[in-house]
């Protein structure tokens, strides 16, 4: 009996040894690979090089904005502007209530009990609750302060420039200008810019209140000012979103239309000629292998930046993908149905229409609709490369490195757009495929 069982024991032992090898060997291989990549990507150096201060500005800018109060030290003029941009400048005499002018002095309440006073003669006085008073002045071609030699770490001072970090604010003094920023939470001027009469009015007032601008009705005027908001450019953003969706739509369905006839040529059971089949298949492989990136580059050389280039890039790549998928679907078609249709005396076109199309349509549609969602994302990326749609706006806002609230806005819109397309394509798929019968 032991003799008979011996080979079995051996076999089992070998099996276990192999399993153990796999169980320990595979994770070990992965670990070795990850270690190699860790060093080849230069991760240790990366953590030193990383600009965490950039990260901090990015995050704080994403949900807050700063208002600049700037005194031109040559003319003595004080300007209050949101984000320091001209589009966000407060008209003279309409400064926010935390900035008060008293003769030649400007008093700025910086919150947390902090106050800054701009005085003529390039002078500034800061009153801080737990530190006391700081006086600074640009005189004798240098910045002089009352702080003495030992500076706190939130003050940086050079010969030509003083910069003080405060709580939720910052002050800088140079020869040309004295400036403070004060941070506030939120996205300012999202609805109306300061030059719009509707700025500072709530929705209730706009919808039901008396006319704010006597020349036009509230709703029309408010919509106009919102839509043409110079700071947030809502109409441009809406167009960009539309362009991105358009690229995805044209690219996906265009590719499906082009791919269908070629798929018949590439399918074993519909195409008698091997040479033709081979050519069609290599064409699909080529279109897919060249990849969206290279198509985008090639096409943008011919057509320039814009939605057409993006659409065609998606169309070219996906013709390859769809061609392969469709021809596989066609090869799995059941011949009995075609035979049945043909037995009633149908010609070739009719037997395709009633024998083949009903069989493959659900498969094809579901694949195409699945790609519609994924291509919305691709269209964003292609737009960033070739210049069109929301991808372009995103990269433009990133390049300025300060409009992070706009970047956040675009990211939110992109995510919502992709989710909406996902929901829409899922709904349509359900409707078209299950809608005929079954689920009701």
């Amino acid at each position: 009996m032991t003799d008979a069982a011996a080979p079995l024991y051996d076999q089992t032992a070998r099996l276990f040894a192999r399993k153990r090898l796999i169980a320990f060997g595979l994770p070990a291989l992965v670990l070795i690979y990850l270690t190699y990549v860790f060093f080849s990507f230069g991760v240790p150096g990366l953590l030193e090089r990383a600009r965490w201060d950039n990260g901090r500005t990015l995050v704080s800018d994403a949900f807050s904005y700063k208002t600049h109060v700037t005194r031109d030290n040559r003319s003595g003029k004080v300007v209050v502007a949101i984000e320091g941009e001209r589009k966000g400048t407060y008209p003279a005499g309409r400064s926010p209530d935390w900035v008060t002018t008293d003769g030649t002095a400007t008093r700025i309440d910086l919150g947390h009990g902090q106050t800054a006073i701009f005085l003529p003669g390039k002078k500034v006085i800061l009153e801080l609750p737990d530190f006391g008073k700081i006086e600074a002045q640009y005189a004798n071609r240098r910045v002089e302060t009352s702080l003495g030699a030992k500076l706190p770490d939130w003050v940086s001072l050079s010969k030509s420039r003083l910069s003080i970090e405060l709580e939720g604010a910052r002050l800088t003094l140079t020869r040309n200008k004295t400036e403070v920023f004060r941070y506030f939470p939120g996205w300012e001027l999202f609805f109306f810019t300061l030059n719009s009469p509707y700025y500072g009015h709530g929705p209730l007032e706009i919808f039901f209140g008396p006319r704010i601008d006597p020349t036009r009705s509230n709703i029309i005027g408010a919509w106009h000012d919102f839509w043409n908001n110079a700071m947030w450019r809502h109409s441009d953003v809406a167009w960009a979103l539309f362009e991105t969706v358009l690229m995805a739509f044209l690219g996906t369905f265009g590719a499906a239309i082009v791919a269908l006839p070629f798929a018949f040529i590439a399918a074993k059971n519909f195409s008698p000629l091997i040479a033709l089949r081979f050519t069609a298949r290599r064409l699909f492989d080529f279109l897919r292998g060249v990849d969206g990136l290279i198509w985008t580059i090639l096409l943008s050389r011919a057509f320039g930046p814009g939605p057409l280039t993006g659409s065609l890039a998606i169309l070219f790549t996906d013709t390859g993908t769809f061609g392969k998928m469709f021809s596989e679907a066609l090869e799995n078609v059941d011949d009995k149905q075609i035979e049945g249709v043909r037995s009633t005396g149908a010609n070739a076109a009719q037997s395709y229409r009633f024998g083949v199309i009903p069989q493959i349509m659900p498969v094809l549609l579901s694949q195409v609709l699945y790609y519609l969602e994924s291509n919305t994302r691709s269209a964003t990326i292609i737009g960033a490369i070739t210049g069109g749609g929301i991808g372009l706006l995103l990269t433009q806002a990133m390049i300025t490195q300060k409009d992070w609230e706009e970047v956040t806005y675009y990211i939110v819109l992109i995510v919502l757009m992709v989710m909406a397309m996902d929901t829409f394509s899922g709904w349509l798929r359900n409707k078209l495929i299950n809608g005929g019968g079954g689920r009701r």
């Binding site: 990383a50 358009l246 969206g292 057509f303 939605p307 994302r377 964003t380 990133m398 995510v415």
Partner: protein, 284 residues
């Protein structure tokens, strides 16, 4: 009188067919109109028009091929020079697929009814996956490039982030079809949740998981090449340099085009062979 029901059924059927055809026709007309007007609109909003561009479509490839064929002897040297960049692109894709797939396995187990450790949190995990799936890689990559500086790591994180959501959804669909009997069996002997998943579920779903992961790897290679183009290292970055240099470096651009094309085709074929083996191995 007795024949009326039959006739009316026949009539009804014909009316139904006619109405269906009408709807189908209307749908087709609307679709064609949408496509045509869409292309017109895209054409109008494009910098160059289709009609003018169409004749120039082969200009750039002709330039590239012309210059590359003039310097054909330098091509092997270029291949060698850009090969490390290609390896980096593939490494980005491989690591992000690895990380993303591991994350997706965990997320999908947490998001499947009947398997989840905390059933109350299923919608939460699903929303998280929806969110990571909806985020285009370029968005995460650009933000991370600003903080971490250019290089492969931002691309890797960005692709992994998207992969978690994309694979997580597919994985949880696979999980839903898994048989619960092994789970009951393993649970009945007092296994913890991790053990139940490890021994009861994973052996069932692993072939499908692997097959989807391979497909994702192929997609991620393309994504990683594209992200290189916006500054995340790898072959895309080299391509951008070669192209923006313009005439004079087109031989390099041609070498990169060829490398990228061959790599994509190679991994495409490899993954499709492996996937076929996986699905057929599971069946036999």
């Amino acid at each position: 009188m007795t024949q009326t029901p039959a006739i009316s059924i026949h009539e009804d059927y014909l009316a139904l067919v006619r109405r269906r055809r009408l709807y189908g026709g209307i749908l087709l007309v609307v679709f064609v109109a949408l496509m045509a007007s869409g292309f017109n609109l895209a054409d109008a909003r494009n910098a160059g028009s289709f009609r003018n561009g169409f004749t120039q479509i082969f200009d750039f490839p002709a330039d590239v091929i012309g210059e590359a064929s003039g310097k054909l002897n330098q091509l092997p040297a270029h291949f060698l020079r850009f090969f490390p960049a290609l390896v980096e692109t593939i490494n980005i894709a491989a690591v992000s697929t690895l990380i993303g797939a591991s994350g997706a396995v965990v997320m999908s187990l947490f998001a499947t009814r009947g398997l989840a450790l905390w059933p109350r949190a299923i919608p939460l995990f699903r929303r998280v996956m929806d969110f990571t799936r909806a985020m285009p890689e370029i968005v995460v990559a650009l933000v991370l490039i600003y903080v971490l500086g250019g290089g492969p790591v931002p691309a890797m994180i960005a692709i992994a982030f998207h992969t978690i959501g994309a694979l997580g959804k597919l994985f949880s669909e696979v999980n839903e079809n898994a048989s619960l009997k092994p789970v009951e069996g393993v649970r009945s002997v007092g296994a913890s949740w991790v053990q139940t998943m490890w021994l009861g579920i994973l052996p069932q779903v692993l072939p499908n998981f692997l097959s989807y992961t391979l497909l994702r790897f192929e997609i991620n290679i393309r994504a990683s090449a594209i992200l290189g183009f916006v500054g995340a290292g790898g072959i895309g970055y080299e391509l951008k340099n070669a192209i923006s240099w313009g005439q004079g470096k087109y031989d390099e651009a041609a070498a990169i085009f060829i490398l990228l094309f061959l790599a994509i085709v190679f991994f495409d074929q490899m993954s499709s062979v492996l996937r076929n083996r996986l699905t057929q191995g599971g069946r036999s």
